[in-house]
């Protein structure tokens, strides 16, 4: 038995037939070929499959596809605009926030949800907002920095790296 539904993904309407037990992650990857959303654990523990569902960051592995009728979904493939990369994406590249890249799509979407709601987050607020996204490569340092760099906070005078030692170059 499959369920027909209509879901808006990255601004495009898609009509899908999904099995009742298939998740939004399954639908995005298998039905729509949007493989930028990663399968890291499939039980909501790692955040690699994070997408925006009606503007909120969610683990797409813990949402049944059948329950997304009429919903708006944003995946990593929908973050960049026609004019180029999103400032968050630029910041991730510039700050060296990308290593293996497997957590990157989920990180960017969690960060995007944060910045839409809180354009000037503190270091602690960024860390809280990303606390459902695991990363094993970066220690989060450059990811947090990239999010701060992409935020309006970067426009505030005196904005900079956390106080401390500067790397010797």
């Amino acid at each position: 038995m499959s369920i027909s539904l209509c879901v808006i993904v990255n601004g495009n309407e898609h009509h899908l037939d999904v099995a009742p037990h298939h998740t939004l992650l399954d639908a995005l990857r298998e039905e729509l070929g949007l493989t930028g959303t990663k399968r890291g654990c499939e039980v909501g523990d790692c955040g690699a499959c994070t997408v925006l569902l009606n503007g909120k960051a969610v683990n797409s592995c813990l949402v049944l596809a059948a329950e997304t009728e009429g919903a708006e979904v944003v995946t990593i493939e929908g973050v960049a605009g026609r004019e180029g990369l999103h400032p968050l994406q630029e910041a991730f590249i510039r700050e060296g926030a990308v290593q293996c890249g497997f957590c990157t799509p989920g990180m960017i979407l969690s960060a995007l949800a944060l910045l839409r709601e809180n354009p000037r987050p503190s270091d602690a607020e960024v860390r809280q907002a990303l606390s459902g996204n695991l990363c094993r490569c970066t220690g989060y340092a450059k990811i947090v920095q990239a999010v701060l760099d992409a935020s309006d906070a970067s426009l505030v005078p005196g904005f900079g790296r956390p106080e401390g030692l500067r790397p010797s170059r």
Binding site: V43, K56, L62, V63, A66, S131
Partner: protein
């Protein structure tokens, strides 16, 4: 994951009817609010329902509503909404804090109050599918095994701890649960909602197979009410409490008029400690009394081989929680 039939009832009555019918037909039904815990359990093959009843298709189960001095919270209200709701943050801080400390940001965005309250245990043995009491088996593997996260109180035959963060807060705030069943709605005090394994080892609460938690009702917040939720955990996100406390104290003229202290992470249900509450009542609070309260709260704890560290940890948590609720001078 085994497939199932997805049911989208339009009303609670219809949902109850679906559950009733399933029961009559010998089919297993599962309720999905946000679905986070259910999907995790499905993927781990811990539950294999024939049908999944999607509560999100029912309108009116979401949101925080004032009703006179009381507050009604739909069971499908997300943890995130509760954590940020100004009224809850101001008057029922324990609940807002508990919701904000639960799970991870992504799970709080879909996870609901009802789901958090009804969450199944996170005992390693249960989640790993050991044939334990909670999985329908005949033993509690924690007793002779890895019991560092297990119960200090109320254990036996299973020694799980209740995993919910919001539940201790709701018991402390004297919330009531509105439960819908075949014979209509009934109101159950939060404290009476949770049951020990010795009453029914397969369940953590009174909810029957054809019943649905629809709403949580918070009583009027009396003047002088201060509440908080403290949580001790091994990491700062997506981790269940080693020990937690929902604490609500009412102050009048510098003295505690009434106290509700409910521990999380130490028992199969939110664990109220009346002896400790009584010590506070009628008194003004200082460091010495807070220590006595903490001692009283943990009196009678029965640690297993590896969870003794929770006793002093819980004492510290109790003491800090009550001291944090000192009335503004």
């Amino acid at each position: 994951m085994k497939s199932f039939v997805n049911v989208n009832p339009k009303s609670l009555d219809e949902a109850v009817a679906v559950l009733d019918r399933a029961r009559a037909q010998g089919k297993k039904a599962a309720l999905a609010g946000g679905g986070s815990d259910l999907l995790g359990m499905l993927k781990d093959h811990l539950v294999q329902p024939d049908l999944v009843v999607n509560l999100k298709s029912i309108s009116g189960l979401e949101g925080v509503h004032r009703e006179g001095e009381r507050v009604r919270i739909g069971a499908l209200t997300t943890l995130d909404e509760i954590a940020r709701h100004p009224l809850l943050v101001e008057r029922y801080a324990a609940l807002a804090q508990a919701a904000g400390l639960a799970a991870s940001p992504q799970i709080r965005n879909v996870g609901t109050l009802g789901g958090n309250v009804n969450q199944r245990p996170w005992c390693h043995y249960f989640r790993q599918g050991f044939p334990c009491f909670k999985n329908g088996g005949k033993m509690c593997y924690a007793v002779a095994g890895e019991n560092q996260f297990h119960a200090l109180f109320g254990g036996g035959p299973a020694f799980i701890v209740h995993p919910s963060d919001t539940a201790p807060a709701l018991v402390a705030l004297e919330a009531e649960f509105k439960v819908m069943g075949p014979s209509g709605a009934k109101i159950i005090p939060a404290e009476k909602y949770f049951i020990l394994p010795r009453e029914d080892v397969l369940r953590e609460n009174v909810l029957g197979e054809n019943e649905i938690l629809a709403e949580v009702i918070l009583p009027a917040a009396p003047s002088g009410l201060r509440s908080t939720y403290l949580k001790i955990r091994d990491r700062q996100a997506w981790d269940h409490a080693i020990v937690s406390i929902g604490a609500a104290l009412e102050w009048e003229g510098g003295r505690c008029r009434k106290a509700r202290l409910v521990l999380g992470g130490v028992a199969p249900i939110p664990w109220r400690v009346p002896n400790a509450e009584r010590l506070l009542e009628g008194k003004s609070l200082g460091e010495a009394l807070a220590r006595q309260v903490a001692e009283a709260a943990l009196a009678g704890a029965q640690p297993l081989a590896k969870n003794g560290y929770k006793v002093p940890l819980a004492k510290a948590t109790v003491r800090r929680a009550v001291l944090s609720l000192l009335p503004a001078a």
